[in-house]
Symmetry: C2
Subunit: 333 residues, 2 copies
Amino acid sequence: MALPNPDPCAGDVLGAYLRAQATAFLRGLRLHEESGADAAESTEAARVLRGAARRIRSSLVTFRPVTETAWADGLRTELAWLSATLSDEHAYAARLNRLLDALHRLSGAPGVPAPRGAARSALTVGSARAAALLDRQLSLARTRAHSATLQALGSARFHAVADAVAVLASEVPLDRIAAAGRTDDVLVPLAAQAADRLAEAAGALPLVRAAHPYNAEALVDDEQQDAPWHRVRSLLHVHRYAQEALAADVTRLTAAGEALDRHRDAAEAAAASAAAARTPRIAPATAYALGVLHADQRHEVEAARYAFQRIWQRAGEPTGAGAGTTAAAGAGA
Amino acid sequence: MALPNPDPCAGDVLGAYLRAQATAFLRGLRLHEESGADAAESTEAARVLRGAARRIRSSLVTFRPVTETAWADGLRTELAWLSATLSDEHAYAARLNRLLDALHRLSGAPGVPAPRGAARSALTVGSARAAALLDRQLSLARTRAHSATLQALGSARFHAVADAVAVLASEVPLDRIAAAGRTDDVLVPLAAQAADRLAEAAGALPLVRAAHPYNAEALVDDEQQDAPWHRVRSLLHVHRYAQEALAADVTRLTAAGEALDRHRDAAEAAAASAAAARTPRIAPATAYALGVLHADQRHEVEAARYAFQRIWQRAGEPTGAGAGTTAAAGAGA
């Protein structure tokens, strides 16, 4: 049994991670080509593609000095374009599911004996119409996004991205000198910078408030209030992928990221509900159901902040430069 | 310095409590007569009257065997009538305040820089109209309740109640034999029965669920779901007044009762919002704001359950027969 190299160089570690992600990307692409009309397979293919594209792009940003920078900067721009295109369709579909599930929950599941609450009936009347309205609006948006995805995947621009990723799968263009350095000297400090940016942004969040359940702060929806949380979500994902590259344990980061994903999804679902309520000539019962739904999703936003704060504070301290040290230990294991 | 009697008889303890409450009742009545057109004084007078009436009635129920029962049963029926009459006006006023405060909070306070959330504008449009609608509906109900209160307070029936309470203020009609017993032997077991009824009802509540913040259980409003909580609220007040009579510490019971008061108020406010949404020919924006408001108040219901559960579980165990023992110690102090 060969023991793993206890002190691999930066190029080996980053190269192995990028090659693995590039391979995943190509697998997703093959899956997509083979999926044909199978919606489930096509969804899974898009999920794999999105995940790999995000990880490659994030690594090219965090570990930029270790790569051949001109090449890395170009690929990362193209991956950003691809990610944005791929995520739209998924986002609309997920938003519609989230809203329909919430309406279903709020108006009571069928099969369950109907309760006699006074408000229930008002909600039952409106929720079916609200569901139909949201379905119409979001399905239309999703269909448009689907066409845009198909068009993108057939474009010369995409083929160039796929070619670049294929190169990455076999040989990662690295900066020779930086790549020859020790992981601890090269990758760990770069990952620590990502951790620091995250720690700073997370430290500015109103976490004390969020730790107080039912603070009702998120119920007033307000893009300005949400923005810092969305920013922490992005930084958290970047930090997580950097730690993944260093083979560190990302369990807590994944859970924290999921809470902030839920935060963003609920905020966007609430906005979609508010937007639907501005449709001209809707019935009052429909508007009422959309109001309930909007508040329900803002409640989810608040719940997600609470969940994030629980995960984040549990570690005792923000994930700062110290995390880099832990990650280095993880990378050596 | 005379030390307090370390072992007072049941009649002394119950008599002192009932006399104090009867005196408070008469003070409230005098305050009401003097208040004239002063709304603040009249409100305060009604508050004092309600509080004293509730305590007298509750004590006559819990400690019934220690009283002259025929007299006690008659007075308690009349106090129930009076309490119901007095509480209506207060309830409508409080409900309107609660709903207007919530609308104000949800649509953003004036003076605060207007956030740019997409849903905000939809809510601002509707919330002013929703506020006007609720104001109209609940003010009408309150005015009717006010007339009913004035009519009740001028009635022969009320004068008979006031006379009975005046008797109580000087001499409490007690059962001679029971009243001569030791507090520990007579009052404490009766108070323990009230505690047991409460512990049983509270034990049947879904407290584990309520301990999970943001469980979203209360968002679906449902009278059947609320009913057990309302019942615990009533039993809690009865238990608390019994402990008050025994001069026990009721800090925790008061806090728990306040949480359940909030639970009931929010549930009724949510129902009022849903009822307003059924007004014919309202604008969609109004209905939307009422939907948001309804969900907000159901969120408050859930928050109140969480708060109650925190207070209730903090003691480590339900307030059962053991509380009677503590209370006895308290009464002797």
